[in-house]
Amino acid sequence: MATSPIVQKLKPILGYWKIRGLAHPVRFLLAYLEVDFEDKYYELTPELTKDYWFEDRKKLNLEFPNLPYLIDGDFKVTESRAILKYLARTRKPDLLGNGLEVQTRLDTVENFVYDLWIINFVEMLYGYTEERHQKYKELEPLKLAYLSSFMKDNSWVSGNNITYVDFLVYEILYQLTIFDPNCLDKFNNLKEFMKRFESLPAINRYINSKDFLNAPLYSKTAIYKI
């Protein structure tokens, strides 16, 4: 008997905490690509444990179980930057950058900003002390200066075409300015970059939509609440 399988096009699911955190670049990229996706939000238990996530984690069959994750049909991807690149690769490969020089620039910036973001900034928030804050304050302007010099008056990180790294850089700069509203005062091009990003039609629509999660940045378990 012939059967005709019903092919259901399921919405991609992005699983993450109900915070901006590491997932927001992915949310922005999904919005930019006009992908109708589902945000699966995880929340902490009333005792501030991660048990709701741990329960789900057992069932999801992820190779490297972690948040964020993206379930896209048959594919399951973790690691926020791997997800960004996966989305670019499958929906808009131009976002990976064209040509050796651009791709090398992107790799370098991606790694550089990730260290600033996770190792310097996020870890400082979660284990906040005055001492750590001081060290961060010394390091941050140096690193932003490198980024600003690198970008010069280009529209986007790699030049005049937007790439996946711009989604990462935007969110990082946004988060840094929430923590310290003056951190970009000396870097006009980075401020302009942020405005440019926010003005992209699909991004603008997303930011103004009811689905958009504006805050918080990080978890209630972080010592510095933001």
Binding site: A82, T104, F112, Y126
Partner: protein, 279 residues
């Protein structure tokens, strides 16, 4: 710097971060005195550039690529292996700590090299100047052997996942444990490593390399991570024979074997002498 009170899990890892922050702070500036010495266990090798209190004299006219890094395995070793695998005749600038264990020799050069994001390791290749270890690995792959980036889109995604997953394990957990060693950090690393190496092992299945039967750049990164983890904890791969197998397989690649047997090869140390638990 060390919190004497019992540390909660996130405090353990944030202490790691503080140590790494200090390390990164040092790894980020430049000027003066780039003197390198030949390795203790190697003969004089003309490809090792020795500075005599001058900044790097490498110019665009020089045809050999130049890798700048500490005179340790650290993060640079994985690039050395890839250069060797690709049969690239390269030069090295190996930085040493000062006798007071400061980073001044690197600082001397740092802002003078024309690097957009000054850091170690760096690679000069013709007019190109690149930093960030994995950016260098990918650049070398892209320019010399693109299959190392993955022959298919699906492999490229797997590579990205492994790369990111491994980096956090190496740079946050492992580096924290060796640079700011305490019993608590060591224990935390061993526990975390057991889980995460398990994931890698399951992911690898019976493949020859981490993403399948073709070697990719992330195998170079993985090999060096596994080598270093084993130095810290000799039994960490006992439950994961496929990962132990990858080590052997890697060391037996003809170009790698030749390199390991050559006078240019840096056997150790893994860490800077300033590490709390030098390896």
């Amino acid at each position: 710097m060390f919190n004497p009170l019992p540390l909660k899990k996130y405090q353990v890892s944030t202490t790691c971060i503080l140590i790494i922050l200090n390390y990164l702070l040092y790894c980020s500036s430049a000027t003066e005195e780039t003197c390198t010495k030949p390795l203790g266990n190697s003969v004089e090798d003309p490809s090792l550039i020795k500075g005599d209190c001058q900044s790097s004299g490498h110019t665009m006219a020089d045809s050999k690529p130049l890798l700048g890094y500490w005179n340790i395995r650290g993060l640079g070793q994985t690039v050395r292996f890839l250069l060797a695998y690709l049969d690239v005749d390269f030069e090295e600038k190996r930085y040493e700590l000062t006798p007071e264990l400061t980073y001044d020799n690197w600082y001397a050069d740092k802002e003078k090299l024309g690097l957009d994001f000054p850091n170690l390791p760096y690679l000069f290749d013709g007019p190109e100047k690149i930093t960030e270890t994995r950016a260098i690995l990918k650049y070398l792959s892209r320019t010399r052997k693109p299959e190392l980036l993955g022959k298919a889109a699906e492999i490229a995604t797997k590579i990205d996942m492994v790369d990111n997953f491994l980096y956090d394990l190496y740079y946050i957990e492992f580096a924290g444990a060796v640079y700011g060693y305490t019993d608590e950090l060591a224990k935390a690393f061993k526990e975390t490593a057991a889980v995460r190496l398990g994931r890698l092992s399951t992911f690898m299945k019976e493949n020859e390399w981490i993403t399948g039967n073709d070697i990719t750049y992330v195998d170079f990164f993985l090999y060096e991570c596994l080598y270093q983890f084993k130095k810290f904890d000799a039994n960490c791969l006992d439950k994961f024979p496929n990962l132990a197998g990858l080590i052997t397989r890697f060391e037996n690649l003809p170009e790698i074997k030749k390199y390991i047997g050559s006078p240019k090869f840096l056997q150790g140390p893994i860490t800077l002498a300033s590490a709390a638990h030098p390896l």
